[in-house]
C-alpha cells in the first residue's frame, strides 16, 4: 500500500513538473513564428542569418497576389511548412505550402461575410494565430473561427461581436491558457468596448468584461489594486460619465493583447471614449483610454492606468504594448512599454501599473510634460476642445503618434517606433447617438508637423528616455516594425517601400519598392530549407482613407478624418490589390 501511495505521489509530482516545464502553449516554436512569442508584443525574431553585412543582398523570393483591395494590416502566420495569410474583409484565408519551389496555395477558406460590416471600419484586419495544431482568426464582421489547417475544416465559428451595434473585430486574437482572448472595435460608432475569452476547443464563452459601466461588468472586484488612488472608488465606470453615457461609451479593446504566462496576467489597452466631442461626455470617462492588467483565467482586473483620461482627441490607448525584462534604473524589472498615440513612451512596472517614465518621442504641444507623482499628463489649456469651437495646430493629430507595431530588440536595448508626425485642427460639434451609425462629432484637418517629415522610424533608448536615431519618411508610417537578432530592423512605409535598417545605428541597408503601401507587420521565419525568410503583406486599402484606397475627394479638407489632405503626396495607386512579399538571400 505504501508503495502504491509513493508511486502515486511520484507520478503526480512528475506530471506537475512536466506541465510546468512545458513552454506556455501560446508560444510556438522558433520555426513557426519567427521566434517572436506573440504574447509579449516585442516583434523580435531570434533568427540571425540576416545581418547588416548581407542584408543588402536580399532579393524578392516570392510574390503572391491576395486579390483584395483592402488594407492589409495583419501579419502572415507560419505553421510548420505552411504560411497562412488572412486577406482584408471580405476575408479569404490562404494556406501556402512553403516546401514548393515557389509557395503555392495548398487550400483556401472563405467565410461567409456580412457586407454591412465594411462600413464600420476603415482599417483592415488582424492576422491568424495558431495554438497547438489549430488556427484561429477574427473576422471584421464579428466572428471568431477555429480551423484545422491540415484539412481546412472548421472546428467552430462563433459570432463574438455584433455589427448591428457597431462592433467589429479588427485585431488578432491571443491564445492564453487554452482560451482565445479577443476584444472588439467600434469606438467611432458608440459600441461599448469589451474583452472576452472563449474556449479554444469549443468556442464557448468563458468570460466577458466591459470597458465602461458598473464594477461587476468591468471585472473590478476585491483583487483590483490601481496604482493611483482616485481609481479606488466604487463604480468609476458610471460616476465618471454623464448619466447613461457609458452605455455607448466606446473603449473597445482593438489593440494588442499581451499575455505574461509567469504572472498569469493579460495586458491590454482600451480605446477612446465615444463620442469624440468631449463636451458630450464630461468626466474622466473610466475605463477608456488606459491600460488594464487582468487575471488570465477570470479576466478580473488587477490594475488600471489612465493614459488619456477624458480623452480630448479620441486617441485611445490601443497602440503598441511590449513586455520587456530589462534593467531599469538600478535593478532588473518586469516592464510594460507602451508608446502611446499621445506621443509619449510609457514605461510601467508590470506588477503594479505604476508609471516609471513617460517621455515624448515626437514634439507635442497638446501636453506639457508628465507629472510622475500623479501619474498624469499635464494638458495645455490652449489646446483644449470645446463643442462648437475650432482648436488649431494640435500635435499629435488623431489617430495618434504611433500605431500598434513597435518592436524591441534585447540585443540593442532599443525600442523601434513607427511614427506619424502630423498636427491637426479640430472642430467639435454635437452629435446624436443612433446604434450602427457614426458617433464622432469631430471634424479634423491634418497637416505634417511643421519642420518635420510626416513619418519616421525612431530608434528609442528606453533607459535614457530619448531617441538615438531616426529614419525620416515622407508619409506617416502605418505598418509595424520587426527587429531581428541578426541586428536588423524591417518595416514598410505608406508609399510602398519595405526597408531594412541597421538596428544599432539606423542606417538604411536595403529597400524594396512594392506595388502598394505597406501597413502590416513583417515576420521572419526559418523555411523548410533552413534559410531565414522575411515576409510582409502590402496593400494600403482605406487605411489612411487615402485617395488610393477609397473614393475620396480631396477638395474637402476633412475627408477621411483629415488624412486625405495630409497624404496628398501619396502616389496614385497603379496596381490591383494586395500582395504577399517574401524575401531571402539568393
Amino acid at each position: 500500500m505504501a508503495v502504491m501511495r509513493i508511486l502515486a505521489a511520484l507520478i503526480t509530482a512528475a506530471s506537475v513538473l512536466w506541465s510546468v516545464s512545458q513552454p506556455a502553449r501560446s508560444e510556438v516554436t522558433p520555426a513557426e513564428q519567427g521566434g517572436a512569442r506573440p504574447g509579449d508584443g516585442n516583434h523580435f525574431s531570434p533568427l540571425d542569418q540576416l545581418t547588416p553585412a548581407n542584408a543588402s543582398h536580399l532579393k524578392l523570393y516570392a510574390a503572391f497576389p491576395t486579390g483584395s483591395r483592402g488594407a492589409h494590416s495583419g501579419a502572415p502566420l507560419v505553421m510548420g511548412n505552411m504560411l497562412v495569410v488572412l486577406t482584408p474583409f471580405p476575408h479569404v484565408l490562404y494556406a501556402l505550402d512553403l516546401r514548393k519551389a515557389k509557395p503555392e496555395v495548398a487550400w483556401r477558406y472563405e467565410p461567409a461575410s456580412r457586407g454591412m460590416a465594411a462600413g464600420l471600419t476603415c482599417c483592415g484586419t488582424g492576422g491568424p494565430v495558431s495554438y497547438g495544431n489549430h488556427l484561429y482568426f477574427n473576422t471584421v464582421d464579428g466572428r471568431t473561427i477555429a480551423l484545422d489547417p491540415a484539412s481546412g475544416a472548421v472546428l467552430w465559428d462563433v459570432q463574438a461581436a455584433d455589427p448591428a451595434l457597431g462592433e467589429t473585430l479588427t485585431g488578432a486574437p491571443v491564445i492564453a491558457r487554452g482560451q482565445v482572448v479577443l476584444g472588439n472595435a467600434g469606438d467611432d460608432f458608440g459600441a461599448r468596448g469589451w474583452i472576452t475569452a472563449r474556449s479554444a476547443t469549443t468556442g464557448a464563452a468563458l468570460w466577458k468584461h466591459y470597458s465602461t459601466g458598473p464594477d461587476a461588468e468591468v471585472g473590478i472586484g476585491p483583487g483590483f489594486a490601481p496604482p493611483y488612488p482616485t481609481d479606488r472608488a466604487v463604480d468609476r465606470g458610471i460616476t465618471t460619465w454623464p448619466p447613461s453615457a457609458w452605455q455607448h461609451g466606446g473603449g473597445g479593446v482593438s489593440g494588442p493583447i499581451l499575455w505574461d504566462a509567469s504572472a498569469g496576467l493579460l495586458f491590454h489597452g482600451t480605446g477612446h471614449p465615444a463620442p469624440w466631442n468631449p463636451d458630450q461626455r464630461n468626466g474622466d470617462n473610466r475605463w477608456t483610454s488606459g491600460l488594464f492588467a487582468r487575471d488570465v483565467t477570470t479576466g478580473e482586473a488587477r490594475w488600471f492606468v489612465p493614459v488619456n483620461p477624458h480623452d480630448l482627441y479620441a486617441l485611445g490607448s490601443t497602440s503598441a504594448l511590449l513586455l520587456v525584462e530589462r534593467d531599469w534604473r538600478g535593478g532588473p524589472a518586469p516592464l510594460l512599454i507602451h508608446p502611446d498615440g499621445n506621443g509619449h513612451v510609457y514605461v510601467l512596472d508590470r506588477r503594479t501599473g505604476k508609471v516609471l517614465s513617460a517621455e515624448p518621442f515626437i514634439p507635442v504641444n497638446a501636453t506639457k510634460g508628465f507629472d510622475l507623482a500623479a501619474g498624469a499628463l499635464v494638458r495645455d489649456p490652449a489646446k483644449a476642445i470645446r463643442s462648437g469651437a475650432t482648436t488649431r495646430g494640435i500635435c499629435p493629430a488623431r489617430p495618434g503618434a504611433t500605431g500598434a507595431g513597435a518592436a524591441y530588440s534585447p540585443r540593442t536595448g532599443l525600442l523601434y517606433i513607427p511614427v506619424r508626425r502630423a498636427c491637426m485642427d479640430m472642430e467639435a460639434r454635437d452629435t446624436t447617438f443612433m446604434p450602427g451609425t457614426a458617433f464622432t462629432g469631430g471634424n479634423l484637418r491634418l497637416s505634417p508637423a511643421p519642420g518635420l517629415s510626416a513619418g519616421a522610424l525612431v530608434g528609442w533608448d528606453i533607459a535614457a528616455g530619448h531617441a538615438v536615431w531616426e529614419q525620416a519618411e515622407p508619409l506617416p508610417v502605418e505598418g509595424g516594425a520587426l527587429a531581428t537578432a541578426g541586428g536588423l530592423v524591417f518595416y514598410g512605409t505608406t508609399d510602398g517601400f519595405f526597408k531594412a535598417l541597421d538596428a544599432g545605428n539606423g542606417v538604411e541597408l536595403w529597400h524594396f519598392r512594392g506595388s502598394s503601401g505597406i501597413v502590416g507587420q513583417p515576420i521572419s521565419y526559418l523555411g523548410p530549407d533552413g534559410r531565414q525568410y522575411v515576409a510582409v503583406l502590402a496593400g494600403l486599402g482605406g487605411v489612411p482613407g487615402s485617395a488610393s484606397g477609397r473614393e475620396i475627394d480631396m477638395r474637402d479638407a476633412t475627408a477621411a478624418n483629415g488624412q486625405a489632405q495630409a497624404l496628398r503626396a501619396l502616389p496614385p495607386r497603379a496596381d490591383g490589390g494586395g500582395m504577399l512579399y517574401i524575401f531571402a538571400l539568393p
Partner: protein
Amino acid sequence: MTALRCAALVVLALAGCKQEERAMRLDPPIAEAMDAVALMPDGIGGRPPEVHVAMGNPYRGNAYQISQGKRLYEWFNCRGCHADGGGGSGPALMDGWWRYGPDLVSIYVSIRDGRPNGMPPFRDRLTPEQIWQLTGYIQMMGAYSASAAAPGRNDRMFSRPSENRAPAAAPAPGQP
C-alpha cells in the same frame, strides 16, 4: 408724368415680392406617397413617386429644402463616414461619381434602405420628407453645375468650397 414714373417704379418693385415657397411639411397622404418610389430590381434607379413630379421637383430647386437637407446632413452623423462630402470610410458625395446612379430615386433609396457595403438604413430614424430633403442636398452637392438655391459659405471651420461655388466637375486642386 411724375405720377406715371412713380407708378412704374412701384410696379417694378412689386415684381420682386415673390418669395420662395416654403412647405413646412407635406400633407400626410402626400408624405406617404412620397415614400412609394418604384425601384428597379437591382436597386439602382427607378421612378420617383408621381406626386413628386406633380409637385415640380421641390427638393432640388428650393433653397429652404436644401438648407434643411444640409442641417440634417450634420445632425444625422453623415459626416462621420462621408466627411463634408469628401468621403472617408464611406465614398465621397461631392465628386460626381455615383455608385448607384445620380438620380434622386437612387440616392433616396440609398438613405432609406441602406446599401450592401456598410451604408445603414435610415428608414426608422428619418421621415420620408426628411430623406427627400437630404436627397436634394446630396444630389446638389455632387451636381455638375452650380445652383442658385445652394447654400453659401459656412460660418465654421472651413472644410470645402461652399456648395454654391463648387460643381463636381471642377478639377481638384493638385490633381491632374
